[in-house]
Amino acid sequence: MCGLCGIFGTDDHWSAAGIETKASADPVLRRRHRTARVAAVNRMLARQRIQLSDWQGQSYILHSLTGRQAIVSNVTEVWAVLEAEFGGGFDPLDPENFPEPGAVS
């Protein structure tokens, strides 16, 4: 839990599971997983001009170029908040959202 604001850390979500199948207890490894997760989300949202960043290792912040921001707890919430707060969802099956060939390494 964040000591300042009382927000629970929610890395028990399945999307936070590392290869060791649970969110890592090692803080460095956990941070590394979070960074990789943020980068993966941002690659998917590259065409939406919306980006995700880590917030205190507890939550994430979704922000648009116009300054709109929202706090999300896990990766799944990203897609729900995109629909609710940013005026449109993300459909991974829409070819318009597919990355440029070669953009994913």
Binding site: S15, A17, A36, W79
Partner: protein
């Protein structure tokens, strides 16, 4: 302080009249079944099934909220926790396994969601098997039109084909093939041969999974479609998790089942999901029988499987076969 191990749960589902209670009654008589507590969720104001099972398993509890699985969630949680509390207090006999028999009209995904994500339950119980009883006489012909039936078959880790003695033997291979096409990941057993809890156990660490995939894509007339993907290159685990979360969020209603055996740079991982519910990934023993390829199976309804494949390849940068 010692930490209690999670109690395994077997979810028993199947359409109305398929033979769930019949199989359960037989399985409970098996001496090797161990100490089993049974929760019965029945449709209708007067429950009957718990009386049938209750003569064998005195711990039987009737969940009388009817079949609406969303409404059962609170009651299911309370029933499980009450049962465990009573066992700890010595009010009911100790048990090693819980069997939840759902109504024939239940979509199992909501129940799985309760078991997996409830913050209290998920530390105390672990879902071990989803057993679906499919009626050989009426299953594919009558029940196949019901979305609940397709969802039940798709969610299964084991399908028990019941009433096989009531249909001509030459029809059975076709029935088995159709069930296998809806859910290629489940093991298929004949309920007439009285399979035990040991027979239905789905311990993926001891047997190869997802390697008997029949065809890359298939649609069988029930509305269910399957997409099977295989590839050699190690998968980007984080990228896959992010992609899958987006897919489940947007298309979880139409995505009946996801089962993946993934070869990543760090090891082999099994992913198993039903609808919007995804279980925690399982890291498998690298010595398990495997062809060292990644295999993914998606079972969906009203889902463009060609786009699903294209999306997977585009976002994960892999070429599948």
């Amino acid at each position: 302080m010692t930490r209690r191990t999670a109690v395994p749960i077997t979810l028993l589902t199947g359409f109305l009249g398929a033979g769930k209670t019949t199989w359960l009654s037989r399985a409970l008589k098996d001496e090797a079944a161990g100490r089993v507590a049974v929760l019965v969720n029945e449709f209708g104001a007067v429950g009957i099934d718990h009386l049938l099972v209750g003569t064998i398993a005195p711990d039987t509890v009737l969940l009388d909220s009817g079949c609406i699985c969303c409404q059962i969630r609170g009651e299911l949680k309370d029933a499980i926790l009450n049962l465990m509390t009573q066992a700890r207090n010595g009010e009911v006999p100790q048990f090693d396994r819980i069997v939840i028999e759902t109504t024939g009209l239940a979509d199992p995904s909501q129940i799985l969601s309760t078991l997996t994500f409830d913050p209290v339950l998920h530390n105390q119980v672990v879902l071990q098997d989803v057993v679906t009883v499919a009626d050989a006489q009426n299953g594919v012909s009558l029940h196949a039109d019901q979305p609940e039936w397709v969802a039940q078959v798709a969610a299964a880790s084991t399908i028990l084909l019941s009433k096989t003695d009531l249909v001509p033997q030459d029809r059975l291979p076709n029935l088995q093939l159709r069930l296998g096409l809806i859910n290629p990941t489940a093991q298929l057993l004949d309920a007439q041969k009285c399979p035990t809890f040991a027979d239905i156990a789905c311990d993926s660490g001891n047997r190869p999974v997802l390697t008997n995939i029949r065809a890359p894509t298939h649609s069988d007339g029930t509305g269910a479609q399957t997409l099977s993907l295989s590839f050699d290159d190690p998968l980007d685990w984080t990228g896959f998790v992010v992609w899958l979360s987006a897919l489940i969020h947007r298309h979880g209603t139409n995505l009946l089942r996801v089962k993946c055996l993934l070869k990543t740079r760090e090891g082999i991982v099994l992913i198993d999901g039903v609808g919007h519910t995804l279980h925690h990934p399982r890291h498998l023993d690298s010595t398990m029988p495997s062809d060292q390829r990644s295999h993914l199976v998606f079972i969906g309804r009203n889902l463009d499987m060609a786009l699903l494949r294209a999306s997977f390849e585009a976002f994960l940068n892999v070429k599948t076969s």
